[in-house]
């Protein structure tokens, strides 16, 4: 059996793949957080709960409506984005003129409500969600076994991240968005409906979280608590990357996922903490974050 640094190669690559998948979720979630923060100046604490809701919509669609994985991949982001837009229109938009911290507190409260309601309804134990049959099975790559579904998650999240980056950096709508992030008042003066843009941005960021949730459902179990632990790690990712750059948050997400995977191989005890330790180190060396433009 092939070994690398005394570790069986299959185990090493297996953990790296798992790290890459975690990284895919970190990237999708921190991308959404960065988008929302850019335009709304709010850190969306509800993001983890919205990721969890995405997974639950998929699970409910399967068990109540009989809809499979593929329709859910479209349905879940739409449902969660619609709820997000409702939240933005009824609550968040009242806070834009206040200190940013109120947005954090409000979304924290909403996260507690959503998590609590799902826990009340479905208990704390996880619900299994089967891998769609088109993506079941795996390929033997020689040096490792690649479950097809996991490969799909990595590819799909890459496509989503690059697509989002392209839409923001290379299209006219993206140009409006970037302009509104810099100076909303001026963009409004040009006749562009910034409030609608803000609402849609929130909906889009939240939809990304919901898609991540659907993709996570067959890998992790669908449980009310799946979002809250993840969101804290994603916050650390965001602190490390800085929220100034779209590409930066994506790259940071994948890098940290890989770092976590490597840690699981070489020093499993620290796997849960390595991202936080990385955050401490980055704060010491480059306080503004790897891609940040200032404090």
């Amino acid at each position: 059996m092939m070994t690398i640094f005394g570790i069986p190669a299959a185990a090493l690559f297996g953990q790296l793949l798992l790290g890459l998948i975690n990284g895919a979720f970190y990237a999708l979630l921190s991308l959404g957080l960065a988008l929302i923060f850019g335009l709304l100046n709010i850190i969306n604490f509800t993001h983890g709960a919205q990721y969890m809701m995405g997974a639950f919509v998929a699970w409910l669609a399967l068990n109540v409506l009989g809809l499979g994985y593929w329709p859910s991949l479209l349905l879940a982001p739409l449902v969660v984005a619609a709820l997000g837009i409702l939240i933005e229109r009824t609550m968040l938009h009242r806070l834009y003129k206040l200190d940013h911290l109120y947005g954090l507190l409000l979304t924290f409260g909403l996260a507690l409500i959503i998590e609590g309601l799902f826990r009340e309804g479905y208990g704390v134990s996880g619900q299994p969600y089967a891998v769609p049959k088109e993506l079941a099975g795996g390929w033997n790559l020689g040096f490792m076994f690649l479950p097809i579904y996991r490969g799909w998650v990595v590819v799909a999240s890459l496509v989503l991240c690059i697509g989002t980056w392209f839409a923001i950096e290379k299209t006219r709508l993206g140009a409006y968005l970037r302009a509104a992030t810099e100076n909303p008042t001026l963009v409004r003066a040009f006749g562009i409906d910034v409030p609608v843009m803000i609402t849609l941005t929130y909906g889009f960021g939240v939809a990304l979280a919901a898609i991540a949730g659907v993709m996570a459902a067959p890998i992790y179990q669908v449980s009310p608590r799946m979002g809250s632990d993840l969101i804290i790690v994603v916050f650390a990712v965001v602190v490390i990357g800085g929220m100034g750059s779209i590409l930066g948050s994506v790259i940071t997400g994948y890098m940290l996922g890989l770092l976590e995977g490597l840690t699981k191989v070489f020093y499993p005890e620290a796997a849960g903490t390595v991202i936080f330790v990385a955050m401490v180190i980055v704060l010491l060396i480059k306080p503004a974050g790897l891609f940040g433009k200032g404090a």
């Binding site: 923060f37 850190i43 609550m91 009242r94 806070l95 206040l98 940013h100 911290l101 109120y102 954090l104 507190l105 409000l106 924290f108 409260g109 909403l110 996260a111 507690l112 409500i113 959503i114 998590e115 609590g116 309601l117 826990r119 009340e120 809250s228 804290i232 790690v233 916050f235 650390a236 965001v238 602190v239 005890e269 849960g272 903490t273 936080f276 330790v277 955050m279 401490v280 704060l283 010491l284 306080p287 503004a288 404090a295």
Partner: protein
């Protein structure tokens, strides 16, 4: 050039308030607190006092420096662990164990504060949350914390080796005494010249910098004080319940203390106390029915942020003013 000392703003005018009425009100509160265990279950009161102190420590930071820490559970929980270990394994007397816990919390506060004040606003909140999660994992894995079980059956011991705290009523008066002293200390801090500088930083940081204040140092000192007081609350709670567990270091606890302060009133001396007692009451009331405590706490968060950001004290302010209790 303005010298640093003359830049300290004058204390807010509290002259129009008749001081005797204010004093009378505080004395009446104190009398109620002394008589309370006759009518109300003392353990509940002690829990309320511990959380009131915890919230007051947090409120010192949020209300007077404008720093939102989302990781105060690490000071509360770790101080509880250290105190529990010191009493149970080393056989220290309670006052020494509490002192050790507070010292540990302050050291942790020094490190966490030093890291977190490198970034501002929203990032500060996220960093403190992440650091607290790091310390949660350490608590989960360190052998002496006994993982999921926590440190159970912590003896309360004899205060100064003389007074037996095993008696619930004695313990209550001890907790009350510590609470009153701590609240007086917080009041002293916020009305001192140091506290005035903190408020100046909160209201206009660039101006405070341009006046020559080492803003970072003031923030760090306030953070360490707040951490130490949060640790004091954690140590007390651990002796009251004779338990130090993962619940105390969890992020839910960090969220709860934010809620208490927000509900009571940010930037007031008594607000966090009011909020602390209210949240503990809610917890007791809904404890039996599943996740409803979490849901209700979330709803209160939303209502506080959207409708009354000045908290309960803010709502009661006109009434208190009419009675000549506050200015």
């Amino acid at each position: 050039m303005t010298s640093a000392s003359s830049a300290i703003p004058a204390a807010p005018p509290s002259a129009p308030v008749a001081p005797s009425r204010q004093k009378l009100f505080v004395l009446a509160l104190l009398a109620c607190a002394l008589a309370a265990p006759l009518m109300i279950y003392p353990v509940f009161l002690m829990k309320g006092l511990c959380f009131a102190l915890f919230a007051s420590a947090f409120g010192l930071l949020l209300g007077y420096v404008g720093l939102l820490s989302f990781g105060h559970a690490m000071f509360f929980g770790w101080s509880a662990y250290i105190t529990a270990h010191a009493v149970k394994e080393w056989g220290l007397t309670p006052e020494l164990a509490i002192g050790l816990g507070v010292l540990a919390a302050m050291t942790l506060g020094l490190i966490a504060g030093w890291l977190a004040i490198r970034r501002q606003g929203i990032y500060f909140a996220m960093i403190t949350l992440a650091l607290a999660q790091l310390m949660y994992f350490v608590a989960l894995q360190a052998p002496f914390t006994r993982g999921e079980d926590g440190i159970q059956g912590v003896p309360r011991g004899h205060l100064f080796g003389l007074i037996d705290l095993g008696d619930t009523l004695t313990m209550y008066y001890f907790v009350l005494a510590v609470f009153v002293v701590a609240l007086l200390f917080i009041n002293r801090v916020v009305t001192s010249p140091f506290g005035q500088v903190l408020k100046a930083i909160r209201d206009n940081e660039p101006r405070a910098i341009s006046l020559g204040y080492q803003v970072e140092r003031y923030k760090l000192l306030a953070f360490v004080l707040s951490a130490g007081l949060a640790g004091l609350a954690g140590s007390l709670k651990c002796l009251v319940f004779q338990l130090a567990s993962l619940t105390d270091v969890n992020w839910h606890m960090s969220g709860e203390v934010v809620l208490m302060t927000l509900l009571g009133g940010v930037g007031t001396v008594f607000g966090p106390t009011v909020g602390g007692f209210m949240v503990v009451t809610i917890q007791n009331y809904f404890a039996g029915i599943g996740s409803w405590v979490t849901i209700i706490q979330g709803v209160i968060f939303v209502i506080c942020v959207l409708l009354f950001r000045s908290g309960m004290i803010g709502v009661m302010a006109p009434w208190l003013k009419r009675r000549g209790i506050t200015g």
